[in-house]
């Protein structure tokens, strides 16, 4: 059988499927594939605002940046800025995800039982999700306002000095984590509640018959029953938090100084805020971020597989 025949036969059987996935493949290829390749390329050059191809009026100025190999990587990795930002980003991700997950799990367990006012609580707790994140972030900025914000006024009412929520490096870190947790809990809650409701009630009833305590029921029925959902939402949430741009960008712009700057916002700053805009260094940061995320995802997936997870 020749290749041509084989291709034609494959087309005959699979053209439906291929047609249906074509738009997605096309869009991803053009909008992610090309920029990705280009980004990797830029990270190997010394491109910045001053030497890329550009048009000023009618004058077309060709690109003059050079290929510099791995120089950018060497420069970034030997610079303490990268490691500082990485340390804070890891802290931020682990802090946000673990607090969000614990809060979501606690609340989901509380809501997954007969309870007066359950619908009301559920709606109230999901509300932060219904409001667009950037609106919420602006609202929090208003609440955090050092001189006039309501949080400090409430504290003043209790005789406590104003707290520089966003103007002190340590407080700013706590503040951005708090906002991100506030934003993230509803998703966790909904996903985990769904997971809890998919655990058959008979399991609990049987356990109660056998005299299992509440803790034993939680440990041996709820925890295993939630494992699939938990592993997915934790991974998703970790990736989202790691890349969480709007919260930090809109709340503190990475400040004070660069105290709350995570890797993603710092890379953005390099290419869109700082002057001259440093495209190559920003691209280098981007590639490093991607590498880090891939490693985490692979390790996480392997760990899950070791536990017998099919995902």
């Amino acid at each position: 059988m020749t290749v041509a025949v084989r291709v034609r036969r494959a087309l005959g059987t699979h053209w439906y499927a291929w047609t249906m996935v074509a738009p997605v493949v096309l869009v991803i290829g053009v909008i992610i594939g090309y920029p990705l390749v280009r980004g990797v390329f830029l990270s190997l050059t010394d491109a910045n605002e001053a030497n890329v191809q550009r048009d000023i009026g009618v004058n077309h100025i060709p690109a003059t940046y050079k290929f510099t190999g791995l120089d950018n990587y060497q420069a970034v990795l030997s610079d303490s800025v990268f490691w500082d930002r990485l340390g804070w980003t890891v802290l931020w991700t682990v802090g946000c995800v673990s607090i969000t997950f614990l809060a979501g799990l606690t609340l989901a367990n509380m809501l997954n039982r007969t309870l007066r006012g359950r619908t009301f609580y559920r709606l109230a707790l999901i509300l932060p999700w219904a409001v667009p994140a950037f609106i919420s972030v602006f609202t929090w900025r208003m609440l955090y306002n050092e001189k006039n914000g309501i949080l400090n006024k409430l504290l003043a009412g209790g005789g406590i000095d104003a707290i520089p929520w966003l103007n002190d490096p340590t407080w700013a870190k706590l503040s951005v984590i708090a906002v991100n947790v506030w934003l993230g809990v509803p998703f966790m809650l909904v996903a985990l509640l769904g997971g809890l409701q998919s655990i058959p009630g008979e399991l609990y009833e049987a356990a109660e018959m056998d005299g299992a305590s509440a803790w034993q029921r939680f440990r041996h029925i709820t925890v295993p029953g939630l494992r699939a959902v938990s592993s997915t939402v934790i991974l998703l949430s970790a990736i989202w938090t790691f890349n969480m741009f709007p919260v930090i960008f809109l709340l503190t712009r990475g400040g004070p100084g660069d105290a709350t700057e995570i890797l993603v916002t710092y890379a953005y700053r390099l290419s869109f805020v700082d002057s001259p805009r440093n495209f190559s260094e920003s691209a280098t940061w981007g590639v490093l971020i991607l590498v880090l995320l891939s490693i985490v995802a692979v390790v996480y997936r392997r760990a899950l597989r070791k536990q017998g997870e099919v995902w």
Binding site: Y16, T106, T139
Partner: protein, 293 residues
């Protein structure tokens, strides 16, 4: 994970084993107190935003409730700023993204749910990996790409960008959803002489309406709230989307909190409406995606 068990043990510390839906009075109070506290924390910021928007601009930071009820912030935002233009820009961009996004997520989800074809596994991986792409690695090249295509400051440029953010997750969700629809339905369609597209369009898609609602909701919310690309790709006051426009009220130069709150309320309302519409399907749709993912 095991540590969180304390919540349940606390409600049943008595030596006698209680069943799931019985609890002592203190446990009940504790439960309600915790939930009420969490609900207050969840509701307060949006509520405070709403309250502040009705205060005169000079009172934006007063701690009390509204003393001088006024619509001045709203009229100012609607009449004297570019707000309506931003709103229009956002509606066009988000509307197009949602319609296109739901459609191509559905066809892709259906294809990977029903057919075994060469390239399927790589595609699933691609969809999964795309979700973790940081904005940072793509934004500069994408900016250059859109610039060379003349799509900067054009709605179309943002629409395709948003599709790449929303579609991978949505396609996974739709796959999970289609997996729950019995294959027999497809087979009955084939028996009746429908081709795969007909089966998909006339039989399966109508059954998948809850999944579509969740997918549409997710796409809408993602696009409506996106900040990074919108801030970088859209410049000039008449091209901004709402996310960019709102930043012009409160930044290092101006501090117009009154206008900000009014604008924020107007922006949040459509999102909340879409949310209310989709939230019924939220649990089923999301878990179909996540448990099977």
């Amino acid at each position: 994970m095991t540590r969180t068990g304390t919540t349940r043990t606390r409600t049943t510390r008595t030596p006698k084993t209680r069943t799931r839906n019985q609890r002592s009075r203190p446990a009940s109070i504790g439960l309600h107190a915790t939930l009420a506290a969490a609900a207050v924390i969840a509701v307060f910021p949006p509520l405070w935003l709403l309250v502040t928007s009705f205060k005169p601009r000079t009172d934006a930071f007063s701690t009390g409730v509204v003393t001088h009820f006024t619509f001045a912030n709203y009229t100012h935002v609607l009449a004297d700023t570019e707000f309506l233009t931003w709103f229009k820009n956002s509606v066009i961009i988000v509307g197009l993204t949602t319609v296109l996004g739901v459609f191509i997520a559905a066809t892709t989800g259906y294809a990977v749910s029903r057919f075994r074809f060469p390239g399927m596994r790589p595609l699933m991986w691609l969809l999964l990996i795309t979700q973790m792409f940081p904005v940072a690695v793509l934004i500069v090249p994408l900016y250059n790409l859109l610039a060379s295509l003349g799509l900067l400051n054009q709605p179309a440029g943002l629409v395709v960008t948003y599709l790449t953010i929303a579609v991978p997750f949505c396609a996974w969700m739709m796959k999970g959803y289609f997996d729950t629809i019995p294959v027999e339905i497809d087979e009955s369609g084939r028996v009746d002489g429908l081709n795969p597209f007909g089966t998909f369009w006339r039989l399966v898609l109508p059954l998948a309406r809850p999944g579509l609602a969740v997918t549409g909701f997710y796409t809408f919310v993602t696009a409506w709230a996106e900040v990074a690309y919108a801030s970088a790709f859209m410049t000039g006051e008449e091209n901004l989307t709402l996310a960019g426009g709102l930043q012009t009220f409160v930044n290092q130069y101006t501090n117009d909190w009154g206008s900000m709150t009014a604008a924020a309320v107007i922006i949040a309302v459509p999102a909340a409406l879409v949310f209310a519409f989709a939230q019924r399907h939220l649990v089923s749709g999301l878990t179909a995606g996540t448990t099977k993912g």
